[in-house]
Symmetry: C2
Subunit: 404 residues, 2 copies
């Protein structure tokens, strides 16, 4: 097999969220009749149920009217918008961010993640990745021909911590890991790392000279008044690190494809060089939408968080009422990672069956680590009534496949 | 030097178009006083002088109103928009394009180029690149750790052809080149490949099993009623090829970051896998703007082409009036690649000096190939009066540095 064939064989997208429509017609073990109801796509949030931040479209319109100046920004993003974003992210995280040196605007946080990996991980490097964690993390490591060193998160065994195995992490770092990439809150479980965990990750990274990429995409949507420690603000952090965040999730601005990365000057400089050949810049007119980020009307974010918390609670209750089904309530974000009892079909087949019989789309656990053959992820940023009914249908279908 | 340092050392962006603001203050051999006048940035087109296609903003607004369906498209782009784009590109080029298999929408043509290179060129592959050609082509080959095999274009020595050295191209193909990437019309010279040249490239690619990436970004803006042969429409083409095009140039839609690639099904599939980890998709709302592309009001494109042709003619006349200055009139597009007489300063210094003394930004020839130490590129999609005055200032500054 040639290099490219090998590389792309590892980069499947058929089961990736949002790609389900492209799945070919496979023969499935369909049991029982279709269950009617409003189709729900849990693979991503529903921006019709939770609308884009107020004023976002007006900000776009103003950007468009600026004309050429807004259409052609520096590759790292418009200078004046970087000033605004750096100030807001400094206030939010406590990190020092020089808009000229420490921040880059990207096409979505996916764009930021790709650039950060490309700037920090070379072919052959050992990269530590949490299991479970965001599916693209593994794919990126594979694309850049790195060796993945998995570290387990025991998310069912700890309540006020993420459950990351810190001894395993240190073992990985000792084995020569160059880069540790993780999401906090964790995607797919919604687990938030405790202050103790974050401080220990920072100390270990510094001690072993490991670089960090911290994906804080969902860090604004914390439930139950929970605390959150931004690693980037700690004195004891590592020499080289980048934090990634963006307005695509809680803020529902995904249609504009906006993200931001901030951190070490040298890494940001490399990320810009890479962005120059990857996509030039985040769409110029869209960059103007950053203005409404962290400038929401009073009470808006609090309300949005409470609404999500209520959906979480209702769904957790529903799942937990079913014998053999396990779920850890998300500390933050809008994902639930649900474990099922043994079934007669694989998780890949189950996901396709549920889509066919119940019009419900979920993402198989195996996207988040090879071992999660009994789990699936849902994004519960949905219309509450539709989401609850969809989960009822999913569970009804599940019963037809429960291994006896 | 470690792998990453080496890789990024080759990816300079300081002299890249649009990045000039980030250049540090260097000590320059400044001769004479500043020449006042309207600043002109020839590094890219001026979308205030040539406005975005009529109806583009309304198309965006409609996309925004579609909500979630438009915000979250498949990674390769919205299915219905792909149907529309495939139909329009089929009609334009004569190629057969199945919207389900042969086309992907990308964040700008830069995005398409990156994905195509990533999907078609593996580490260690030999990649043929024209000199001069678009600066990112070389950088992409270097990023993907390919070996660049340069092929010369003698653009001053041929009028109805590009002047590509086809014997050198065959030599390169015979030496084991895997991929040939070129822009037509050529960027930076504006030279259009003749029917004979295109047919021979196609035949050579097929004979030697070479894959092709043809960047047709400027192929709608042909001057003087010139013909144009789309390689993708030829029967005798190679097995694997991708054509790249987008509405950022003639159509002035750059602020939305839209591009498209079409071609071999297997390559498009790989490009989508790569897009999934690079940036997910072209901004969802922006994709809606594709609707106005190739659907311009009657006479609009013809008028725009004539306006550019008039600017080209006026600038060519101005340049040619100066002893030692050479320029080939662009057959298409909006670039001129101007050769200067021997100067006391390098082209890199000259470009910085002109920016400082005359408020005129141009791109040094060395971005388009290491040998072009006596040339610079301008994008003449500008306000005509301002552009002519700016070139006068540039030439006045030039005289102060002419080697005696």
């Amino acid at each position: 097999m040639d290099l490219l064939t090998e590389k792309f064989a590892k980069l499947g997208v058929d089961s990736a969220p949002g790609q389900e429509k492209l799945q070919g017609e496979t023969k499935l073990d369909l049991r029982g009749c279709r269950l009617p109801g409003t189709p729900v796509d849990f693979s991503h949030g529903d921006v019709d149920a939770f609308e884009p931040l107020p004023g976002s479209k007006e900000a776009f319109d103003a950007g468009y009217l600026e004309g050429g100046r807004q259409a052609y920004t520096e590759y790292r993003g418009s200078a004046s918008i970087r000033v605004d974003v750096a100030e807001k992210l400094s206030a939010f995280t406590g990190a020092k961010i020089d808009p000229a040196k420490n921040v880059i605007l990207t096409p979505g946080t996916q764009g930021a993640l790709f650039l950060a990996m490309g700037a920090m991980a070379a072919r052959g490097d050992r990269v530590a990745i949490v299991e479970p964690d965001y599916f693209a993390n593994r794919k990126l490591a594979e694309f850049f021909e790195c060796t993945i060193v998995p570290v387990q998160m025991r998310y069912f065994e700890s309540e006020h911590e993420s459950g990351l195995d810190l001894r395993e992490l240190e073992e990985a770092f000792r084995s020569g890991v160059k880069l540790f990439l993780f999401s906090n809150p964790n995607n797919p479980t919604g687990a938030v790392y405790s202050d103790r965990e974050i401080r220990q990750i920072a100390a270990l990274a510094r001690a072993y000279g490991v670089s960090l990429i911290v994906d804080e995409l969902y860090s604004r949507q914390l439930f139950d008044g929970r605390g959150y420690t931004h690693l980037c603000a700690l004195e004891e952090g590592p020499e080289e690190m980048v934090t990634i965040i963006g307005p695509s999730k809680t803020e529902s601005l995904s249609g504009y494809r906006l993200g931001a990365a901030f951190g070490s000057e040298a890494v940001i400089a490399r990320m810009e060089k890479l962005q120059a050949i990857v996509s030039l810049r985040a769409a110029g007119y869209c960059q103007a939408v950053f203005k409404v980020w962290f400038a929401e009307p009073e009470g808006f974010m609090e309300r949005r968080i409470l609404e999500h918390q209520a959906i979480r609670d209702a769904l957790v209750k529903t799942f937990r009422a079913v014998p053999g089904v396990r779920v850890r309530p998300a500390d933050a974000g809008s994902y639930l990672f649900v474990q099922l009892p043994p079934l007669d079909v694989s998780i890949g087949e189950f996901v396709k069956i549920v889509r066919r019989l119940a019009d419900v789309t979920v993402t198989p656990g195996t996207e988040f680590g090879p071992g999660f053959t009994d789990s699936f992820r849902i994004n519960f940023s949905q219309d509450k009534t539709a989401a609850l009914a969809a989960v009822d249908r999913l569970l009804a279908v599940m019963e037809r496949y429960r291994r006896s």
